[in-house]
Symmetry: C3
Subunit: 340 residues, 3 copies
């Protein structure tokens, strides 16, 4: 539920300059999870973490009716680490865009999600957060390769298709502004009808880091509502030079009582043992209302490689540092998620 700030024609007499077409919405999520993560020989750590069922966030957005079926809009949204009071400062790096919408579709500019991320996260039942999410195994080659384009990019210009039956899609380019790892082009195309949804995406980040090759990512996925339950699956391959990672996921969610039980399994296999791992994740979300829920989560990551190597993957980034190749990381948490 979002709160339209005002913009009520009937109230213009009171609200002064507010016009009938105007609206600004304040929205966000405060999600806090009491979590324990055990990282093999590195030991375990108990934390309060801001991402149990989804990322904590705060934002402002608005839409203006331009007439003739056109609208203009803006969207500002940033991370909100409520466990520390967001001590590093409020930004709008989750999304900061301006849009023009009409019969032609949508033109959008700013910092925004990339097509490949939108696509892979659509088929993650855990909102790309917490101990059970595909995010725990997905390598965006940020550290090793220098790409900044695993999830979002600065300086994007996107075009989104208008509503055309069940077909949907977008094309996105991001200006590199002479910074290696920033320049990106990608697209996404999908089709949804009734209980059924499938989509695919492709993205290319120009020559980055010390690699002479572009980083190319392709992924696709689908979901199907089988009466009371939903099944979904996805596949992704990312590669540059001789480095690559393949990610396969399958999951199911089932209503149980006033809540939902979810389970998924992810398998990552890469060009090196340290890029390979599996994740078994499960969670139960109990809805106190449409906006507020309690959750329990579980995740178990089994890393590839051997003990002479540092392992890459853990059940959330909130555990102790130092897990080794071949070791397992186990995490569980209890969370409150409140949307506004």
């Amino acid at each position: 539920m979002k709160k339209s700030l005002i913009a009520l024609a009937a109230l213009t007499a009171f609200a002064g300059a507010a016009s009938a077409q105007s609206s600004v919405t304040i929205f966000g999520i405060v999600d806090l999870a009491a979590r324990s993560v055990s990282n093999g020989s590195a030991g375990s750590l108990k934390t309060l973490s801001p991402n149990g069922q989804s990322s904590s966030r705060l934002g402002f957005r608005g839409v203006e009716d331009l007439g003739g079926g056109m609208t203009a809009g803006f969207w500002l949204e940033g991370d909100l680490a409520a466990d520390t009071g967001n001590a590093t400062g409020m930004t709008w790096t989750r999304r900061a865009t301006v849009s023009l919408n009409g019969g032609f579709g949508e033109v959008r500019m700013g910092r925004d999600y990339l097509p490949t991320f939108v696509n892979i996260s659509t088929y993650d039942m855990f909102s790309y957060q917490g101990v059970s999410t595909i995010s725990n195994l997905r390598n965006t080659f940020l550290a090793s390769g220098g790409a900044t384009t695993g999830v979002r990019a600065n300086n994007t210009v996107s075009y989104f298709l208008p509503a055309m039956g069940g077909l949907y899609g977008q094309v996105t380019v991001a200006a590199g502004e002479a910074v290696q790892g920033n320049k990106h082009e990608g697209f996404r195309l999908g089709y949804a009808a009734g209980p059924f949804n499938v989509s695919a995406a492709y993205g290319k980040t120009d020559k980055f880091g010390t690699a002479i090759d572009d980083l190319k990512t392709v992924n696709f996925g689908g979901s199907y509502k089988l009466g009371f339950m939903t099944v979904q699956a996805s596949y992704e391959k990312s590669d540059y030079s001789t480095t690559n990672q393949k990610l396969a996921s399958a999951g199911v969610q089932v209503p149980v009582g006033a809540g939902t039980f979810k389970v998924n399994y992810i398998k990552a296999s890469g060009s090196a043992d340290t890029l390979s791992a599996t994740l078994l994740g499960a969670g139960y979300v109990y809805d106190l209302s449409k906006r507020t829920s309690l959750g329990v989560g579980y995740g178990r990551v089994a890393n590839g490689g051997n003990a002479t190597l540092g392992a890459k993957y853990t059940a959330s980034g909130n555990g102790p540092a130092g897990i080794k190749g071949g070791e397992t990381s186990t995490g569980y948490d209890f969370s409150i998620n409140h949307k506004f």
Copy 2:
């Protein structure tokens, strides 16, 4: 006065998705004080400071009715140094929490105030800010000992008692997350009836800095409304290893014309001369409305120790650096305080 963003059942037709139970409030204070502080041999400095009558701040909070006497809520609040446009960036480090309330009381998680701080500041007539406040003498052992828990802590989980006659109380634990000086446990218990309020609190920060002992703080206080005037007093003791500080305060506030005159006296005595000092503070607040007031403040700190030692205490942190032991710090200011 706070502005409920919307949440009006009668307006649902206009406000679209806004539900009758929803509300988000934007709130804050802009307080600016033209201040002069003289710090003994270090000289004097004139400033515009963001904390004349209370801390400047900006926040968002909301409450959702879950039915059955339960509510969920969030609270985001950060400092707002209006003198510099808050150049270091907007955070929510004053408070960032999510809560569940009901007949059982309140469960709250996030970054929050600690019981010992809530208790001591309740009996400070100067809102823990400015030239006259107990804050000017209170040593939270942040610098010397490494505790981060003088006022607030990250990663807290608290339980607050429900309304039970005049009895109130809370228990708070903060996860250390393997950072020294962060782990904390504390509680507060009080009783208020008619003109009368008393409360006590205790807090313990686990082994911190290079000290082998925990930092323990205990404090209590009371206030009494004697017809037209209010008297109040408090006492606090903090200690770890062989270091300690004792703080005693007494104050009175009296309505004078359209405003309020306040005066207090604080005596700090510590395990070292440099932990000892006295403060005489006085102020007058003139209310232009319920939300806006003008104020004048005065504070005089007399430091213990001698001139071979650096002194710790000054009448606000906005004076020149370099005051010595045995010297006095005098501050006065004129302020505007506007709440929204």
Copy 3:
């Protein structure tokens, strides 16, 4: 169009504590420009920049009716680099003030614009932003001299004249707080009547950097609405020790179709060749609504000096580094500007 958050007497029954006099407004601009800048031998760069037609920004402000013709108010406004999601953190450094207004005029405190900036920017048709603005040539001696007072200052106290026929004016002082380059005194005086507006301002920043002289800036300007078009001009001189810069500008704006065509010419001549340059700027703004517009901009800067010297001036700061004396910088962009 701004959205008053509430403050509607008629809704007090619903809105609880909201008083009839209260209002908080969320406001801002998201402006993104696809831009290309060519800087002589330094080459060219394509960017998405957050300042096509005006600066992107986000703010909160409010007014409280104190009765008797008096009001109190606050204003918080910060920059909003939507191209990067404002990755450096949200501040309120554009303006953070508290005000008292009445028949006497306005007293305002906080971080605020300076009289000399308000005056020179009034006669810049390009809102002090983008490829065509006088800002591209104006030297505020921030880098070379250490003054921090070209546009705004921290710690200001200002007095604004009340409405007196067409006469308007302000006096502003900024406390230095013992930081070189911060202490400032200035004033502005103007007269507006019908199609006609003239004003002048003066500002002095106390001894700054290693200079023994104060930095003094004086400027004046005027505009005149000639039926369908507006002409305007301004002049500014800034100097300290033997360093100075003189800025002369002239511009005209003409309605063309549903938009406005603007062109200006700026000439800077300074005590050194590297302080001299000319700028020819032109732009067309097409209004989709009162709040949303499309724009195209063009600017060409011809630097003084010669190729052995680094040049100071470019058509926006978003081009490649390394332009040399005597070289030209050319920029053009396409922008969307959305106000809320």
